[in-house]
């Protein structure tokens, strides 16, 4: 028996080099939590100015301390000399995690059948292992709003952090019901309806909305009076928007539709409104400001909605709304290229919004709109350690993001794009059949 053991042991010993190399081959870097001390950094807090040569302590998923002369002998120290710490950026409207490949219908899970489906949960459809998630988060975008699409009441959007193995682990504390306000605009150049048909469709849709809304109102009233209600999940859910329990994210873009939506909202005082899209917001910015609703707009990197528009209206839109007094957050409305959020913000900054306000529009402003400002959106003690370290301004194209922390987890600065780069930068064999 002992002999056999010895044989096995020596066999294993011989195998050791292979095992070791196998380990390197299959090495996986996982997100990991712990106690981290980021030292000698310039900390851009967003809410409390910028601190030079400061340290930041991360423990239990939180920012435990910020300041100079901070020390923690048991913490893993990350020297950030010459680097900057920013709060993680929010993309306030995406399909990230809800679709893997746009043209492959089997992987598209953001749009359910039916026009009144407010009970469809974006959080359910989030794939924590979507390849695009690690591709996104290494850019410093740590938090995204997953927005279902289609119909009038598409479903319930959910705010997620881009780390975790289940949707609940990713959930960042905000949900809102999505409403597509009837559009007088064309969906795309494929949309060849006549002007009259578009108008008719919009009127029909508004009539439809009013009927549905009335039903939801009735549902909430009966519910409040503790009356008997049949199982009606759509209304049960929409009633929460009627009472303001869940915010209503109203997607509306054309100037006239924005005005119509504001009119529609006049007698709905309990509703907790967030306007989204708002591509032509600059045309009616004063009216939006007057109504006092916050706006999530974008992408800036898109074509003007009208042929007669000045070339830069999509770039200047957020700045113009901000100037009129509207609270503005920025989104990409993208899926696989949510990593372009900082560049959208950069364009907004260059074209009138200014760097400081553009930074707020992807950090503290969306945190406030989503009601998670106690936990996210700025570098403050006690807030979630959801932040990143960069070698410069994160909007600037050439800037490198060095480290990303999401709720205290240090996430690997890797993804499929980076792995392909590592594998193929110097292919071996190159042109010949065998390497020289």
């Amino acid at each position: 028996m002992r002999k056999i053991n010895l044989i096995i042991a020596s066999f294993l010993f011989c195998l050791l080099p292979f095992l070791a190399s196998a380990q390197i081959d299959g090495e996986v870097i996982k997100p990991r939590s712990g106690k981290f001390l980021l030292t000698n950094a310039t900390i851009v807090t967003v809410t409390n100015g910028t601190m030079e040569n400061a340290s930041l302590l991360i423990e239990n998923g939180k920012i435990q301390g910020i300041g100079t002369g901070l020390s923690a002998s048991d913490a893993e120290e990350i020297d950030c000399t010459g680097h900057y710490i920013y709060p993680g950026m929010f993309d306030s409207g995406t399909k990230l995690g809800m679709v893997e490949i746009n043209s492959v219908q089997e992987t598209v899970d953001h749009t359910e059948l039916g026009s009144v489906t407010p009970n469809m949960q974006a959080l359910t459809t989030i794939n924590p292992n979507a390849v695009a998630i690690p591709v996104t988060r290494v850019s410093g975008v740590t938090t995204t709003l997953a927005v279902p699409g289609g119909g009038i009441f598409s479903g319930t959007a959910a705010l997620i952090n881009l780390n975790g193995y289940t949707p609940d682990q990713m959930y960042a504390g905000f949900k809102g019901i999505v409403m597509n306000y009837p559009s007088s605009a064309r969906r795309s150049t494929w949309d060849r309806r006549s002007d009259e048909d578009i108008k008719k469709d919009a009127e029909k849709a508004l009539k439809n909305i009013n009927e549905v809304w009335q039903r939801a109102t009735m549902y909430s009233e009966i519910n409040a009076a503790e009356g008997d209600l049949e199982y009606y999940p759509e209304m049960e859910h929409l009633a929460k928007a009627v009472t303001g329990e869940l915010p209503l994210l109203i997607e509306v873009n054309a100037a006239n539709d924005i005005l119509e939506a504001l009119k529609w909202l006049e007698d709905k005082e309990d509703v907790n409104v967030i306007l989204t899209g708002v591509a032509e917001g600059w045309r009616v910015a004063d009216k939006i400001a007057e109504a006092g609703y916050p706006v999530i707009t974008g992408p800036m990197l898109s074509i003007p909605t009208r042929g007669s528009d000045r070339f830069d209206v999509s770039y200047t839109n957020p700045g113009k709304m901000l100037k009129a007094g509207v609270k503005v957050a920025i989104r990409t409305n993208d899926t696989e290229n949510v990593r372009n959020l900082p560049f959208n913000a950069g364009f907004a900054a260059a074209y009138g919004m200014g760097k400081e306000e553009a930074l707020k529009a992807v950090t503290i402003v969306p945190a406030e709109i989503f009601g998670v400002e106690d936990n996210l959106g700025s570098i403050e003690e006690g807030k979630s350690a959801t932040l990143f370290v960069s070698d410069g301004d994160p909007f600037e194209t050439k800037t490198q993001i060095k480290h990303v922390f999401i709720e205290g987890y240090r996430v690997p600065m890797s993804n499929r794009h980076i792995q392909l780069y590592q594998e193929f930068l110097e292919r071996d064999p190159g042109l010949e059949k065998h390497s020289k």
Binding site: T189, R306, F424
Partner: protein
């Protein structure tokens, strides 16, 4: 008889002289000049005379009738060149056959497209107006200079540019013809067969003509000329090296396939476009082709671009592949300088390397590298002035010149820059989704589910 011929010839010469497009003169003073091919020159002047860069230096002066622009604190770079575009085109796809080499995009140029002006406002002075990607061998393209304001499509043509043609591999031709029309190609094997068959037929066609010409030299020859076929003649011109292929492609296998086919037929003038998996066959692209024209970061909009990397341009560049960044989009063409800058985030390219991706490199791929694409004496006066370094996300183009003529000035922009308003359009349409110019335009009739198939990015 001879006299008449001379007279006609003279008349034609006179016509071409008259048909010349505007050429301007301008003196740009005290700029930081990003020459691309000769580094960065601080505090330097550029003198353009009659559309041509005459002098680059310090303390230059010009005649009284030449406009002087003070560019102190500003940056000047060569006009940006987009090697893959569909702006200024009425239609994009002649999707009636897997080979349509007989059609030419020059016949469908729309000088009224406000997209041309928007491209100018983003510093883009030249675009390669391409046929779509429905066919394995598509139509011939046309290289445009953005002389916005003309009503004559021909004024936009860069007449000195060589001929180019569109090829397409992978999902688009197999979807349109195989799945849509139930004819070859339905697979990537079929795409290869269509191209090979086309070239072999072209060789036979060429031989028929050669035989006929040989025979007709005989005295009292009764040889009858073969039937002229512009489709096959175009393929012959490709085989003769007179046309540059620009091939829509994504996957490494299909790129490798066409490289092999081209090697076999002795074709060297080929540029691969999109080429998302080009990084996997970078050594082959470097050795056998005129390079790759890629997106900065587009991926995952369809299956054949799922295994992409934003480091594609960096890997290609590092491997010695002539690389450019294109738009294939009426949106991206407005900020190609920003797309080029992304190679600094994804792969750390130098400023000169990044700028070359949208200037001299695409110029070479279009066969116009000796005329445009860098700031050099003797080259055409296509220039852009930026307030910041053009690779900065905060850069805003201030003025754009084509042939020394100013076509964009941010301070003279009129908001509504349309040249023509549709009189039947009582209410101006508002488009929410990007109303874009794409490879797969004009194909909705092929599919009942067109909205689904084509509404997303279908490049």
């Amino acid at each position: 008889m001879k006299k008449i011929i001379y007279a006609i010839a003279a008349l034609m010469c006179w016509n071409t002289v008259n048909a010349q497009t505007d050429k301007g003169s301008v003196l740009i003073k005290n700029a930081t000049v990003l020459t691309v091919t000769n580094g960065t020159l601080e505090d330097t002047d550029i003198l353009v005379e009659n559309g041509v860069i005459r002098r680059i230096g310090q303390g230059l002066s010009a005649g009284n009738n030449v406009t002087t622009v003070d560019a102190s604190g500003k940056y000047v770079m060569p006009g940006i060149i987009d090697a893959h575009s569909h702006i200024a085109l009425d239609v994009v796809n002649e999707a009636t056959s897997p080979i349509t080499s007989e059609v030419w995009m020059g016949d469908v140029v729309d000088p009224y497209d406000v997209g041309i002006y928007r491209a100018l406002a983003g510093g883009t002075t030249i675009s390669h107006a391409m046929h779509g990607s429905a066919n394995a061998i598509g139509g011939q393209n046309v290289t445009l200079k953005h002389r916005f304001g003309t009503h004559d499509p021909e004024d936009l043509f860069m007449k000195e540019a060589p001929r180019t043609i569109k090829f397409a591999l992978g999902e688009n031709p197999t979807r349109v013809h195989g799945r849509g029309n139930n004819i070859q190609p339905r697979t990537r094997m079929g795409v290869e067969a269509v191209i090979r068959n086309g070239f072999n037929e072209a060789l036979q066609y060429k031989k028929r003509w050669a035989d006929y010409e040989q025979a007709s030299k005989q005295r009292n020859s009764k040889a009858i000329a073969p039937k002229y076929d512009s489709r096959l003649q175009t393929l012959v011109d490709i085989l003769d090296g007179d046309i540059i292929i620009h091939c829509h492609s994504y996957r490494a296998d299909e790129i490798y396939m066409l490289i092999q086919v081209c090697k076999e037929f002795g074709i060297k003038n080929i540029v691969f476009s999109h080429v998302n998996e080009g990084f996997k066959v970078a050594p082959e692209l470097a050795e056998y082709t005129m390079g790759a024209s890629v997106f900065a970061d587009w991926w995952a909009y369809k299956f054949e671009v799922y295994y992409s990397t934003a480091f594609n341009a960096a890997i290609l560049n590092q491997n010695g592949v002539l690389t450019s960044i294109n738009s294939d989009s009426g949106e991206l063409i407005r900020h190609l300088y920003h797309e080029a800058a992304k190679t600094q985030r994804y792969g750390g390219l130098t400023d000169d390397e990044a700028l070359a991706l949208i200037t001299i490199n695409p110029a070479k791929q279009l066969g116009i590298g000796d005329m445009v694409g860098s700031i050099e004496e003797g080259k055409q006066g296509d220039l852009v002035i930026f307030d910041n370094h053009p690779l900065s996300v905060y850069a805003i183009p201030q003025m754009t010149f084509v042939d020394g003529v100013k076509y964009f000035d941010i301070n003279e922009d009129k908001d509504d820059q349309r040249l023509k308003v549709n009189p039947t359009e009582l209410v101006e349409p508002i488009f929410l989704k990007e109303h874009d110019h794409k490879c797969m335009h004009d194909l909705d009739f092929l599919f009942t589910e067109a909205e689904h198939l084509f509404n997303f990015h279908n490049h």
